[in-house]
């Protein structure tokens, strides 16, 4: 075995097994506390107000509620996200590390987008009432 290396079995696989076990146990415990909701049977004649999308799409719903053309911003961000390795001109870091200096711009933009998505999601989830009017969450 070369210096600095370890055999995957058992060292790496042990880590995987621990992660799997912890994930399953955590989820099983949390499930006992958070039951899945079930509303009344679907009825197209009864439209709730407000109508909200799935939680992971709420940020897009909030965004297009300002202007439907903002959907192009979502598409542009998605395209930029996919093309990131070709858009980023910084040299790859020589070692594994968080926040490499060479990628400072990309890191700042990525964090800003994450914060914006999170903020839009929270606003749509807690601050939108009937007719998508802004309401206080408290």
């Amino acid at each position: 075995m070369k210096r600095g290396y370890l055999k995957s079995s058992p060292y790496f696989f042990r880590l995987i097994k621990i992660a799997l076990t912890l994930t399953v146990l955590t989820l099983m415990a949390l499930t006992a506390l958070i039951p899945a909701p079930l509303q009344e049977q679907a009825n197209l004649a009864r439209v709730p107000n407000p109508v909200k999308s799935a939680w992971f799409l709420l940020w897009i719903q909030e965004l297009v509620s300002y202007s439907k053309y903002l959907i192009y911003l979502v598409l542009a961000l998605t395209a930029a996200f996919i093309a990131l390795p070709w858009l980023s001109r910084s040299a790859p870091p020589q070692g594994a590390c968080w926040f490499p200096r060479e990628s400072r711009v990309v890191n700042c933009v990525a964090l800003a987008i994450c914060v914006a998505v999170l903020a839009l999601t929270l606003v749509a989830m807690f601050c939108r009432g009937a007719n998508w009017q802004f309401v206080s969450p408290f």
């Binding site: 070369k2 290396y5 370890l6 055999k7 995957s8 079995s9 060292y11 790496f12 696989f13 880590l15 995987i16 992660a19 799997l20 399953v24 989820l27 949390l30 499930t31 958070i34 039951p35 899945a36 909701p37 079930l38 509303q39 009344e40 049977q41 679907a42 009825n43 197209l44 439209v47 709730p48 109508v51 909200k52 999308s53 799935a54 992971f56 799409l57 897009i60 297009v64 959907i71 598409l75 996919i82 990131l84 390795p85 070709w86 980023s88 910084s90 790859p92 870091p93 020589q94 070692g95 594994a96 590390c97 968080w98 926040f99 490499p100 060479e102 990628s103 890191n107 990525a110 994450c114």
Partner: protein
């Protein structure tokens, strides 16, 4: 045989420092653990779920009221799906913030992007299946969002030929949710792991 296959997905040896949890936080592994849990719990739910507009909701009621552990199983599936999405997003953020998407890992970045988008689509198709008010109107709103996109109308027509919650659309969401998207997710996850192994050594990333 399965154990041998799984072992071959990973390198025979790894850099000791790459096993440091503070670097990867094991987010990808945790997300894949959620995917396996989703597959296992979803497989059990298949024994009771009926993918027709008239029978879907009653089959969920039956599962929750008359099947031992049925309500718990459905809750576990739902919670695992939330965790799955959150962990994939966090894993993607970690990859960006550590610069691990850069050359020579572009192909694996694309595979990861496909996994993220498929995971979102999987969550979306699963949302409709209980056929309660929350499911119907969340899916309907998702379709309206899709409609605002270029070629969104054509995509909507392909996914929902007869209206959200109608027989053909529910069947399509069901087949996509239980067969096609999970199949793609597992295939791409295998490819993702394989590429990690292939790319290893060029940069000291896990």
């Amino acid at each position: 045989m399965i154990e041998d296959f799984l072992k071959h997905l990973f390198p025979r040896a790894v850099l000791q420092r790459n096993l440091t949890l503070s670097y990867t936080l094991c987010l990808g592994g945790l997300a894949f653990s959620c995917l396996m849990l989703l597959a296992a719990s979803g497989l059990l739910l298949l024994f009771y779920y009926q993918p027709t507009p008239a029978a879907a909701y009653p089959s969920i009621l039956l599962l929750e009221s008359s099947v031992w552990g049925g309500r718990y199983l459905r809750s576990l599936h739902r919670l695992a799906s939330h965790f799955f999405l959150v962990l994939i997003v966090l894993h993607t953020l970690r990859v960006i913030l550590t610069g691990a998407y850069q050359k020579p890992r572009e192909l694996n970045w694309l595979v990861g992007c496909a996994l993220l988008l498929l995971a979102i689509f999987e969550g979306y198709t699963g949302y409709l299946l209980p056929m309660d008010q929350l499911a119907l109107w969340a899916t309907q709103t998702g379709m309206e969002l899709l409609h605002t996109m270029p070629v969104g109308g054509a995509l909507r027509a392909a996914l929902v030929p007869d209206g959200v919650g109608e027989p053909a659309s529910l069947l399509r969401f069901y087949v996509l949710h239980i067969l096609m998207i999970p199949g793609a997710l597992f295939f791409l996850s295998g490819l993702h792991f394989y590429r990690i192994r292939k790319d290893k050594g060029v940069l000291p990333y896990l």
